[in-house]
Amino acid sequence: MSVLTRTADVDAPPVGAAGTPRRRGRRAWTSHVFLAFLVLYFVLPLWFLLVASTKSGGGLFNSPNGALWFGDGFHLLDNLRTLFTYNDGIYLRWLGNSLLYAIGGGVGATVLAVLAGYAFAKFDFPGRRVTFALLLGAVMVPMTALVIPTFVMLSEVGMTNTVWAVILPSMLSPFGVYLMRVYCADAVPDELLDAARMDGAGEFRVFRQVALPLMRPAVVTVLLLSVVGTWNNYFLPLAVLSDSQLFPVTVGINLWQGLAGANNGGGVSLYTLIIVGSLVSILPLIAAFLGLQRYWQGGLSIGSLK
């Protein structure tokens, strides 16, 4: 605090001056202008996507009101119909695949992380220090450095081009284990666990009925982080899958993007499909984040407050 006392009387504002109504009002006003500017920037691509998805294939290129406003006619429903029927409805398949990978990988990663985090936080097993040091090291290993080796390894055992080639590697979340350990060490008192053991509860029951309910905020956070991570993943599925029937929506949209550049849509405007497809694919996660605000807003900071 000494730094502050020394610098305080340079421009010598009387106590409380920073908070006089007029100055506070002006500051709030500039703050809000700044925030409005940021909101415009961060929403701009989404606004473009929303507006563009109401345009026809030709309307994208010569829109009378520009790229950032609605054009002539409202083609959203037509575009959606084309999206869901194009190529025998392959887009719906991609959405389903994304869901399968995100739930499979995300739930798997969370279960493993809860169990391992509990073990690190509450048990003194031989090799704990070494394994935890390994885990911290693994947090720093870039996951994309593993993609090509994983592909080569999986192709040796004939597992590429299967759903498992995406789901199993997605279950690896060293950072999730770290978050669980940090949270569990604080939120689950040893006394409570010991009391349950005294009452004759088995170890798994102690975990499930005493520790797990106390760890719920961290569980929701890790689940959300790993579901988002798998849903948004691109490099891994791009490398291990070659059958377009197995693609998640990220790889699928990029396939269209490549074809659109080569003008290969077979009479359908692929640009329209890409735009509407992008819009539909981001809605589930945005809805999940808005719905689960209460959990992630606090939870995302678990690792950073210690």
């Binding site: 169990l115 870039p142 992630w296 407050l305």
Partner: protein
Amino acid sequence: MATLDTAPRPQAPAADPAPARSRRQRRGRAQGLIGWAFLAPFAVVFLLFLVTPLLYAFYLSLFTKGLATGERFAGLDNYTRAFTDPAFLSGVWFVIRFSLVVIPVQILVALAAALVLDSVTSRFARFSRLMIFVPYAIPAVIGAVMWGFLYSPNFGPLEQLFGDGAPFLLSPDNLFYGFTNVVTWQWAGYYMIIIYAALQGIDPAVYEAARIDGASSRQIALRLKVPMISSALILILVFSLIGTLQFFTEPQVLTPISNGAISTDITPNVYAFNLAFRFAQFNYASAISFALGIVVFIGVYLFLFLTRKRGGFLK
């Protein structure tokens, strides 16, 4: 931790009470087995999908495969080749330059937004917080596709604003800015939320004390708030460093519309991907992946070691 108030917290989490410890020692062996039982599922996945690929990549990287000669042991030849390969080195140089620009930009945007959001409470501030965060929920592929459209000379708004003189942000000269914008847009909101949560965790009594000492709002923000959230800032720096050094999705997605400005070796990861899946050079691609992994690991470890007094991560 203050925002996570749903769970009861022990008074002194760091120190085990003595009786619990002695009881624990008596049960030592059994406890050890149970601990391992809880750890085992993760350990299996860890061995299969982290340790094995890394070792296997290292093994592969020690061989070369020629059409005439077949597979043969080459020792560290692939690594000598990598570190004298202009394509790999220019990729490394690109991601290093890119990190030096994009990481400060992202963190400054995130920090400024978080400090402002922490100082005003209104419905609009809450709404802004969500909107700034939204890009995190959007896959990087979709983010890149959207910005690609916005940059597009055919139907993007830049052409309509500036006419024929509009800058094309994916031309060789502007590529760097084009990428900086996409990556900042994608990640600044996530970092903002982490910083904001850390700011909300500070006891407001501290500000009250500073204000009584005569500190202005700006002094409170820069000399009090920023130092108090240094461990959150370090966590963010580590995340963005790991992410930026392995830059892959955006250049890969934007390649088709960049008119050739994005080369097949623009970043080490793009280069490794093209080596493996276009030219089937899996041995050399493994060496590049492994070398990149080691470079990132050492860089991040050094960074954490140098900042270990401030951060909570390596303690």
